[in-house]
């Protein structure tokens, strides 16, 4: 168990106002970042690792990260899934260099120590020495050396891992509201990957965790959403937070319920200033896939996973810390294995809305960096998160709120040792 933050601890004192205030220092403090690796990522959370379909067959493996810790997920010959730290038990070298592949066993290239697919040590090169000389001591016991195991679990086609032995199952951990929506989007039909790429964003990972929960900015910064009525706050929509710790969220909108609100024009917001028709309207050709009326959603699962389903575009976003001020945002676009060609074509075209060149989302590649740069030298200053109040209640009638960001910070505070 981690020690709680005490005055004088490396964690900064939290200002008055609880989760409605966030010290800027948290985004640029090297000691805080190091402590997050231990208390948060290697603490009592389930971390997203990969898709189940990427490790579908015996021998399949996929490398991943929990915070900065390298992980490998592998399916053994009996079909059981294993997770372990991607580190040789001998000298600590990476065992798997490839991102994905299929192996009968793992072999560290440094000194040829080999491992079973569950991480148990299989062989030590020259263990008995050569020509009767050298080698390991007589009492060297291979059973006592292995790649460090972690717990892995699959839910709705997503593979999660944790260092915490006593975690409840993923479904229980995310709570019924989150589990229901993951099942809606990812758990009802077999998935297939349509494409993937990543984006290096020059900001602390928590700024993206905030950004993806920020329903307030979405239709203000992202003009395309607003102008083409893909997602606006004057559509029916809401924010649902997870039961218990409200650190996961769903933001959703129902496009058919759009009724233009005067505030968009009266406030002269940038996003409402772009008045044009598409010259290539096929881009927004859509088809309803669900009977709940929801046409746009973003769901976050603490700490570094988000799933969006915008019109017909389904995508898993994993934001991986690559250092204090650098994050890799990996976009994996999905369809269902039984999609028609027409549906696949729609998903392919609508992928233009998001990703590194997303007509809607490309601003997020730089906006978090602007916060990173803007908060340098900010001393004890803190962000103000009072949109929609100061509390942590789901907001089922409005998304003009920052409640899901406050939810993230309530989880963060708990893990990092704030009362």
């Amino acid at each position: 168990m981690s020690a709680p933050a005490q005055p004088g601890d490396i964690m900064p004192a939290w200002p008055e106002g609880g989760v409605s205030r966030v010290p800027y220092r948290l985004f640029s403090d090297r000691d805080v970042y190091a402590l997050e690796q231990e208390r948060l990522f290697r603490g009592p959370v389930w971390n997203y690792l990969c898709l189940e379909l990427e490790v579908a067959e015996p021998g399949d493996f996929r490398t991943a990260f929990i915070g900065e810790t390298p992980i490998v997920v592998a399916r053994d010959e009996t079909g059981e899934l294993h997770g372990m730290v991607n580190r040789c038990a001998h000298k600590g070298a990476l065992v798997c260099l490839a991102e994905r592949g299929n192996r009968k066993h793992f072999s560290c290239i440094y000194h040829s120590w080999t491992y079973h697919l569950d991480g148990r040590l299989r062989g030590v090169a020259f263990r008995g020495g050569l020509k009767g000389k050298g080698g390991m001591p007589e009492d060297f016991d291979p059973a006592r050396h292995r790649m460090q195991p972690i717990r892995v679990e699959t839910f709705c086609g997503l593979v999660f891992g944790t260092f915490e032995p006593d975690m409840p199952p993923v479904e229980e951990w995310v709570g019924p509201t989150m589990a229901h929506f993951l099942k809606r989007n990812l758990g009802s039909r077999p998935l297939k990957v349509l494409g993937t790429h990543s984006q290096i964003i020059h900001n602390n990972w928590k700024l993206y965790a905030e950004n993806v929960r920020d329903s307030y900015h979405a239709t203000l910064l992202h003009t395309f959403y607003t102008t083409f009525k893909v997602n606006r706050l004057d559509m029916d929509g809401g924010i649902l937070l997870s039961e218990g710790t409200p650190w996961h969220h769903i933001s959703y909108a129902k496009r058919a319920t759009f009724e233009e609100a005067a505030e968009y024009t009266e406030a002269q917001v940038h996003s409402a200033s772009y008045d044009s028709k598409l010259n290539g309207p096929e881009l927004l050709k859509t088809e309803d896939e669900f009977d709940d009326g929801i046409t746009h959603s973003v769901q976050s699962i603490f700490p570094t996973l988000a799933v969006h389903f915008t019109l017909n575009s389904l995508c898993v976003r994993n934001f991986v810390p690559r250092g204090l001020e650098e994050t890799e945002l990996v976009w994996t676009y999905l369809g269902y294995a039984d999609d028609s060609e027409e549906m696949t074509a729609m998903r392919v075209l609508q992928a233009n809305l998001t990703g590194a060149a997303g007509l809607v989302s490309l601003e997020d590649g730089c906006i978090n960096e602007f916060v990173q740069r803007g908060t340098r030298g900010s001393g004890d200053a803190a962000a103000v998160l009072e949109m929609g109040g100061r509390g942590l209640e789901s907001s089922e009638s409005s998304r003009a709120t920052e409640v899901s960001i406050r939810g993230f910070w309530s989880g963060y505070r708990g893990l990092m040792g704030y009362a």
Binding site: T196, H197, F224, L278, G280, A356, A357, E363, C366, E369
Partner: protein
């Protein structure tokens, strides 16, 4: 067999397209394509795995015009410019009047504060329509070597 005159026209055409982008004449960019031309940016990884979703996809000039208009009026990003360096194209005859062209590119990106980076390297896989001495892209795929994009892509590559 690609004759020397056709090769010269194609090389000039490829250069002109890169210059239009680098000189910020983006409104001219869709005009390098056939009306029903296709433009996409993807990665080597996606191409090798046969995956259809890349980073950008425009089907027809209209979608290219939408991209340019969005860049000019809607999208928000830190101002920056490209400088393309092109390799000499490998040309091959394809079906009916089309020429297949592969050419290496690198794109240097310069930010408003003067920071300059190697932004992208890859292969232009082009299908060119050559008619009456005029060249147009029927298809252009900018296939990036890396799956990682630094910050964002808003200007076509």
């Amino acid at each position: 067999m690609i004759d020397a005159e056709t090769r010269r026209r194609i090389e000039d055409f490829l250069l002109d397209c890169a210059w239009a982008i680098d000189e910020d004449e983006l409104e001219a960019w869709p005009g390098f394509f056939a009306e029903d031309g296709r433009y996409r940016i993807t990665t080597r990884d996606n191409e090798e795995r046969g995956l259809p979703v890349g980073i950008m996809l425009c089907e027809g000039r209209g979608m290219m015009e939408d991209r340019v208009l969005a860049l000019r009026t809607a999208n928000i990003f830190e101002p920056h410019r490209y400088r393309h360096i092109l390799g000499r194209p490998r040309l091959r005859e394809a079906e009916a009047g089309l020429v297949r062209s592969d050419s290496s590119f690198i794109v240097m990106r310069t930010m408003q504060d003067g920071r300059m980076d190697l932004f992208a390297a890859g292969n232009y896989r082009d299908l060119l329509r050559v008619e009456d001495g005029r060249v147009l892209f029927q298809e252009r795929a900018a296939v990036l070597e890396s799956r990682r994009v630094d910050v964002l892509i808003v200007i076509p590559i």
